[in-house]
């Protein structure tokens, strides 16, 4: 007896009772569709998040920010060291495997124009900032080295700031007023609050800047997105807007973005920065770093860890529905064996061997599994496809995450193999029971 023949006979047997077949299939269809959908969903969102973060931050990036300092036995929190300078950035840019470096000094400001005002972050940057952080300018131009040289009072607006302040109007060429809070020593004791007690007072300096460009929208929108920013030449920031100095009087920066010359060079870059900065900061052996070197690896690790947990959970849910589907097949096969006891007896009487009966019933249960699997894959695929039409992007942690949902061939193969496996596992016991029946007793069964 050849296989196509056996398949045909199996199909006739399982399709004899349509309603029963459909109900049994339903269990497997739901299980397999759940597997396809959940795996594709977690995969799509996971890789989307990684892409989204790279897109928002820039690729191959390592960054350096101020660390903690320990003075007279007291350790301050990370970020409080005031020792990272523009010259450090310059030195880092000369290291091997470093493609570009973008030092940034940063402060909070209030931006005012066209009768609107918002609080945002002002960053003093160099022309390299644009390519290192992979920003593009939709309107106007970016900050040039000439702007830096003449310490021009110009600015580039993040998309969020441009929209909030100017709405749909074109901001390029307009003036904005930025309010910068500074702390100065008060000679007349006019300061208030805690600062006043120690002879300091806050003052809001107001400066006018000309908008020369607007950045392309990058994040998922909102206050926490990378679009809520106003960029100025780093030299303008240092001399005219918000001077930030090290204790030695050098120009201080808040962060240095370092782009490695390749993904595989990131670790090398990460390793060569600390010795350089330790030397530049005159740190003695045994003294802690006063800076932190970081990159995306940690962030991405965290994401992939949580994504892994999500897929384990998804797999668990899908596994349970598959288990239920498998029990459904087993149940229906046991019923079928009992109902067809007499048929089994007749087949044995005319010469069917154990293996013939075994394979007959096994084929039936595998057919149910495969049929449910194929329909389940199609249903799951359909669900993934419709979801991908509905959500091409999602907003996660202030980042615009592109969700590219698709069903990978691996998932299809796995789903198919699983459905065949369920058919076999669910069918093996009923099939053995059928094969073991005594022909005389089976024929007499009513």
């Amino acid at each position: 007896m050849n296989l196509s023949n056996e398949l045909w006979i199996g199909w006739r047997a399982i399709s004899a009772n349509k309603m029963r077949l459909i109900l049994t299939l339903l269990g497997i269809i739901i299980g397999i569709a759940a597997v396809v959908l959940l795996v594709s969903l977690t995969e799509g969102i996971g890789s989307g998040m990684v892409d989204g973060i790279e897109e928002a931050v820039g690729s191959n990036l390592v960054w350096v920010y101020p660390g903690a300092i320990t003075e007279r036995g007291v350790t301050t929190r990370v970020g409080s060291a005031k020792t990272l300078t523009i010259d450090d950035a310059e030195a880092i840019s000369n290291l091997p495997y470093v493609a570009e470096v973008a030092p940034v000094s940063q402060t909070s400001v209030q931006v005012n124009a066209a009768g609107n005002n918002i609080y945002t972050t002002m960053q003093g940057v160099t022309p390299e900032f644009r390519s290192v952080r992979s920003f593009s300018v939709t309107d106007g131009r970016f900050i040039s080295s000439y702007d830096l040289e003449v310490k021009d009072k110009v600015c580039v607006l993040g998309d969020y700031v441009a929209k909030e302040v100017f709405g749909d109007a074109d901001p390029v060429g307009e003036m904005v007023r930025v309010g910068i809070q500074t702390i100065t020593t008060s000679k007349d004791g006019s300061g208030s609050g805690v600062l006043g007690l120690v002879g300091l007072k806050t003052e809001v300096k107001s400066r006018h800047l000309k908008v020369i460009g607007v950045l392309e929208k990058k994040g998922g929108g909102g206050e926490n997105s990378p679009d809520n920013v106003i960029l100025v030449p780093i030299t303008t920031m240092a001399s005219r807007l918000k001077p930030m100095r090290t204790p030695k009087g050098e120009d201080r920066v808040s962060i240095i973005w370092v782009e490695a010359s390749g993904r595989d060079k990131m670790d090398a870059v990460k390793e060569e920065i600390p010795p350089l900065l330790r030397e530049r900061h005159y740190l003695r052996e045994g003294e802690d770093d006063d800076f932190v070197v970081d990159n995306m690896a940690q962030v991405l690790d965290t994401i992939s860890q949580s994504m892994e947990m999500l897929s384990v959970l998804a797999g668990f849910i899908a596994g349970i529905s598959l288990l239920v589907g498998g029990i459904g097949i087993m149940n229906i096969m046991l019923v079928s064996v009992t109902e067809r006891t007499r048929e089994i007896g007749i087949r044995k009487a005319v010469g069917a061997k154990r293996k013939n009966i075994l394979s007959q019933f096994l084929i039936e249960s595998v057919l149910i599994g495969v049929l449910g699997g194929i329909i389940g894959i199609i249903v799951g695929w359909g669900a993934v496809f419709s979801l991908s039409k509905l959500f091409s992007h999602t907003n996660m942690m202030g980042l615009d995450v592109p969700v590219t949902l698709s069903v990978s061939p691996v998932v299809i193969v796995i789903a198919f193999v699983v459905s065949v496996g369920i058919g076999i596992i669910a069918g093996i016991y009923p099939a053995f029971r059928a094969a073991r029946l005594n022909p005389v007793e089976a024929i007499r069964y009513e």
Binding site: K348, V350, G351, A352, R354, N356, P439, V440, I443
Partner: protein, 227 residues
Amino acid sequence: MIELNGITKIYGKGDAEVRALDNVNCSVKEGEMISIMGPSGSGKSTLMNLLGCLDKPSSGNYSLDGMETTTLNDDKLAEIRNEKIGFVFQNYNLLPRMTAVENVELPMLYNNMPRSERHRLALHALERVGLSDRAKHAPNELSGGEQQRVAIARALVQNPSIILADEPTGNLDSKSGEEIINIFEELNKKEGHTIIVVTHDREIASHTNRIIHIKDGKIDHEEVFSK
């Protein structure tokens, strides 16, 4: 060709023990047509099942075509049933979801015969029992006599050496019964099949060469007709 030696079949154990066959000795020669008669419960069906290799005796020897069958395993017995034996039951035992011709093809599913050959032989067997025009009918579209003829076609399709029929006319009216026994007679005379029929009907039995009378699991006596 059939040699039974001290065949005993015991069902159950201990107090529930039933001695369905008790030390049966008999032989059947090739080309014989014999009938088995006896009261209900006397062990006729048990004997037929043993002869048909559907079951094994509790003790004794059964040699078929010179081969001792009692030591064979289930698969080997299945092979013998497929090759050498055709069974006809009182209640026809056709598969209800299959057409007449598919039912007749059934034994050939288990010996790797090509599909077209299977179909050809099945149609031929139906022709021999006069049912060519009913090939595509399901069993429930056929009369009892027709169903039993399909069952006979299934039994003879592979030209087995023995056809065993356990009360084949028991569910039929006398006219249909007559048709059935005529078919057996013709198969025996023209094609030389060995045929063993269990019956309660002397009229049916009178078509055979020899009647074996069974009582309480033992052969009581034999009648031999010289025709």
